[in-house]
């Protein structure tokens, strides 16, 4: 089927298999590899992207359901030359170990704070529970997102 969508602000028009996974389209057709394949059944969350702003697992999303959608991957938030504040905070708080879940965690954290700048520590923990991490014990990730929320609220942090 013919499909139109935007990825990280870039308009894309392609003829694709409607049953193709969005994950495979992003990785294999577009060469955007920050989106990872961890389980293939939508439980680990490392394939998370933002679809019209909402975190969604791209491994259980078919191409036929994303026509006309706006999709954001971590590349759409910031680049090595111009890091997004949340990316900077992930570095500062050592919220990164192997890095395999990191792009997904950053997208989920970004959406959480955008939707609710008053998000509490417990709400952050709950919110990022949709993505698994085997390395960090989550604590530094929660710390990074918590500081991000504070800064977005205009509060001072150390």
């Amino acid at each position: 089927m013919k499909i139109k969508l935007t990825i990280n602000g870039r308009p894309i028009e392609r003829d694709v298999d409607p049953e193709m996974r969005l994950l495979d389209f992003i990785r294999n057709e577009l060469g955007i590899t920050s989106v990872k394949d961890g389980c293939g059944i939508g439980v680990c969350g490392v394939c998370t992207v933002l679809i019209d702003g909402k975190p969604r697992q791209s491994c259980i999303t078919k191409m036929k359901s994303v026509d006309g959608k706006d999709i954001i991957t971590v590349e759409g938030l910031g680049t090595p030359n111009k890091l997004h504040l949340l990316q900077e905070l992930f570095i500062k708080h050592d919220a990164v170990q192997c890095g395999f879940c990191t792009p997904a965690m950053i997208l989920v954290g970004y959406a959480l704070v955008r939707d609710n700048p008053n998000v509490t520590r417990e709400q952050i923990k709950k919110g990022i529970s949709r993505v698994l991490c085997r390395c960090t014990g989550y604590i530094p990730i929660v710390n990074a997102i918590e500081e991000y929320a504070k800064l977005m609220r205009g509060e001072k942090t150390s």
């Binding site: 439980v43 680990c44 570095i91 170990q97 529970s129 085997r134 390395c135 014990g137 989550y138 929660v142």
Partner: protein, 777 residues
């Protein structure tokens, strides 16, 4: 002065006279974090090459069977299929193994567990390769299956390998246990069991093999690229000069991306050589769960005797490790279990017998902890059960029996040459967790929600010990602009090796870490440094980097000394400058000196080779000095148990580790946080299940439950830093200690809260509920 005292003195001298550390010990941000937060870090599956084929694996339909016939003709004719290969097509050796050569690249005449591979297919795309697998016809003669290791030990059990099912026997005989039990006022006997644990790394194994002429390069998620080179070269029947392994970023490993990832690399390489084109192979999560090795389930029977004052008099231990279908590292894993079988306690009389057994289940091997988590769960549960029987506080009982400086371990090793800090660590854990008060307070609860606090501790041998040759290499090069390249075979698995080894180099040259670039493993360039396992990356890799950097620094120092006409030792490297300690006028920017040296043809590159101190252990007698140093660890866990539903919530974990000098407090804490999460999974949620017929049940992350963020407690981390005389800047080990005492602390806390004792992991809700019901009756 004892050996220990003189070592500490030398150490102190070195630490005191040396300028204050500038990079080591500082919370330097990870040097690869920017790659990872931007998605620019490339992992195994992120490598794409032109004209690339895709490989897939056909696995057995039976957990134990003879292979009578394999017919690949239909698959070969399927459009888009490029090659279908079986064991007979492996050009070199099909057989390999870490200790025994009992593993196969592809099954020959027999399959032994559901992960055994029978054929590999390469096709133009993944889908075609998958379709082709269905067209391969295999005729089997199913054989009787044995999945229970105790059954497998019996004479008449189905034989999994020709040489019998019991393939490791370890023993310890210290003192006289009969005499010891006679001296005891209290004796208890308990059986503890642990489960199969999957590494649960989030990145499924992925490789791409790329041929070039008669050579091949394999990119992939290898934890130990030099092991991968050995296996790929063997399988291809080529010398190592024709095989290059390039390590991709690793999406976690935890001991798991060695043996089987190397086999995956070999399979891709065989297809790539056959076709003369790149072949990519990426496992699905199901393939990872079914084929890959696991952490060993153990059955452990402990008999312990103590006087009424709490002094241990004897311990008798029988344990069985389920090795699964192949030996892998089981003998080495058991070596650690054996050496550490009594926990960190002075036990005058010890008798231990351990057996490693084949079954038709996934084979078991290296996983974070390496034989310690099982033993620690048993010993630390036992100590609490004994404390209860004696009416002594669990902390007290541990302090009565914990090792002191100069204690003798069950293998006859006198603990000296490093600070034996188990008491220090225990007391610190009790202090920061407010142990005494909470222990008492939680004894007086009523209602459905009950709190409990539990303790566990360990000693852990550093690095490989007597497992095998223990060395590491590094190459350090200073560039014309003062940048520094560090290459070591110690690999970044996510733990922070790139950062920590770079810190060591930066410290030697007295420059900021920004000057350093870390070269990842490329087996043509980086020296084989042994595997990045056994929490040895910092102590061994750091040791090698320090030696190499100091050699280069010495030459730069000599050059500057000549320039200023002063003694060499008077030249100091600090804060990006090089200067004369006695005359500040003689000063030069490090970068400028590097450039001067470069233009004056001073050698700015050198290698370092760090060899661990001599150790020895005799597996026949169980005697020797198996490790050159030890770490000391204690965790306190606080939990809440709902005694109506059996639900457990971990509220807080207090973790205290003597890992020697902490090179990077950030990454060190990260190790502990992650270790706590993994230890909690071991205690409460994780269990890889195989049914009694040998078929796997928990083949994806929906059924195999890793801890999620909302289950994670707050964690307080404290380091007790006793610098080790052997480590770079006094560093020891942390990765595995961080996870190995979490589970018993949690289980002991549950026992304290709900007055029930879970003796087989994991403590799932239903199990707790059943024990609560039983207690009521």
């Amino acid at each position: 002065m004892s050996e220990y005292e003189s070592l500490v003195e030398t150490r102190k001298e070195e630490l005191v006279t040396k300028k204050e550390l500038e990079v080591v010990g500082k919370p330097v941000p990870r040097i690869d974090a920017i790659d990872k937060v931007t998605g620019t870090a490339r992992y195994g599956a992120d490598y794409y090459f032109p004209n690339m084929a895709y490989g897939k694996v056909l696995r057995t339909q039976y957990p134990h069977a003879k292979i009578l016939k394999i017919d690949t003709s239909k698959a070969e004719q399927y459009p888009g299929v490029l090659a279908v290969l079986t064991a007979k097509d492996v050009p070199g050796s099909n057989r390999f193994g870490v200790v025994f050569k009992d593993e196969r690249i592809l099954a020959e005449d027999k399959v032994r567990y559901m992960g055994d591979a029978i054929a590999i297919v390469a096709a133009v795309d993944e889908k075609t390769a998958e379709e082709a697998l269905k067209l391969i016809k295999v005729e089997y003669e199913p054989l009787p299956v044995v999945t229970d290791p105790l059954e497998a030990m019996k004479e008449d059990a189905p034989k999994i390998h020709e040489h019998g099912n019991v393939f490791v026997r370890h023993k310890i005989r210290k003192g006289d246990v009969e005499k010891g039990f006679k001296e005891a006022d209290v004796i208890i006997e308990r059986e503890y069991k642990t489960q199969f644990i999957d590494h649960g790394y989030l990145e499924p194994d992925a490789v791409v093999a790329v041929p070039s002429g008669d050579k091949i390069t394999v990119y992939g998620s290898f934890q130990h690229p030099h092991n991968a080179r050995r296996i790929v070269a063997l399988a291809l029947g080529k010398p190592m000069s024709k095989v290059r392994i390039v390590q991709a970023n690793l999406g976690g490993a935890f001991g798991g991306k060695d043996d089987t990832t190397n086999v995956l690399g070999a399979r891709a390489a065989i297809l790539a050589v056959k076709l003369g084109m790149p072949v990519k192979m990426v496992y699905s999560r199901e393939e990872v769960m079914i084929e890959r090795y696991k952490r060993h389930p153990y059955i452990m029977r402990y008999k312990v005797g103590a006087t009424k004052e709490g002094k241990l008099t004897a311990m008798e231990i029988f344990y069985v490790a389920n090795g699964g279908a192949y030996a892998s590292t089981t003998p080495l894993v058991m070596f650690r279990s054996t050496v550490q079988c009594t926990g960190p306690y002075d036990v005058p009389n010890v008798k231990m017998d351990g057996y490693g057994v084949y079954t038709n289940t996934p084979f078991t091997g290296a996983m974070r902890g390496f034989g310690a988590p099982q033993i620690n769960f048993a010993v630390e549960s036992l100590m609490d059960e004994l404390a209860e029987k004696l009416g002594i506080d669990p902390l007290e009982l541990r302090l009565i029996n914990a090792y002191t400086q100069g204690s003798t371990t069950p293998t006859g090793q006198v603990l000296d040459g490093h600070v034996v800090s188990i008491r220090q660590v225990l007391k610190k854990a009790a202090e920061i967790s407010d142990w005494v008060k909470k222990r008492e307070e939680y004894n007086k609860q009523s209602g459905d929600i009950r709190r409990g606090i539990g303790l566990a501790c360990s000693f852990r041998g550093v690095s490989l010990g007597a497992e095998g040759p223990d060395f590491a290499g590094a190459i350090v090069t200073v560039m014309e602009d003062g940048s520094i390249a560090v290459a070591s075979g110690i690999a970044e698995n996510g733990q922070g090796a790139r950062t920590v080894l770079s810190q060591v180099a930066a410290e030697v040259f007295g420059v900021p870490i920004e000057y350093v670039i870390f070269a990842d493993n490329d087996t043509v360039i980086t020296p084989d440094s042994g595997p990045t396992v056994a929490s040895r990356g910092t102590i061994m890799g750091g040791g090698a980097v320090k030696i190499a950097a100091e050699k280069v620094k010495r030459r730069m120092q000599e050059f500057a000394a000549k320039m200023w006409d002063i003694p060499t030792d008077q030249v100091v490297f600090s804060k990006g400058k090089v200067f004369d300690a006695n005359d500040p006028k003689n000063s030069i920017d490090f970068r400028e000196l590097a450039n001067l040296c470069y233009r004056n043809k001073v050698s700015l590159s050198d290698s370092g080779w760090f060899v661990a101190p001599e150790i020895h252990w005799d597996p026949e007698t169980g005697e020797g000095n198996p490790y050159f140093s030890y770490t000391y660890n204690a965790d306190v866990a606080e939990v809440e148990v709902n005694i109506k539903t059996g639900a457990v919530k971990v509220l807080h974990v207090y973790a205290v580790h003597d890992c020697g000098r902490v090179v990077n407090p950030n990454t060190a804490k990260g190790q502990v946080y992650g270790g706590v999460a993994m230890g909690m999974g071991y205690a409460l949620t994780e269990e890889y299940l195989v049914d009694e017929n040998g078929y796997p049940i928990t083949t994806n992350l929906d059924k195999y439950r890793l801890i999620r963020a909302n289950e994670m407690p707050e964690v307080t981390v404290e380091f007790v830093e006793n610098p080790d005389p052997n480590g770079p800047f006094g560093a020891k080990s942390l990765g595995e200690p961080a996870t190995e005492v979490v589970a018993p602390a949690v289980i002991n806390a549950i026992a304290h809260a709900a007055k029930i004792r879970v003796r087989d992991l994991p403590a799932k809700r239903e199990k707790i509920l059943a024990l609560l019901k039983k207690k009521e009756e």
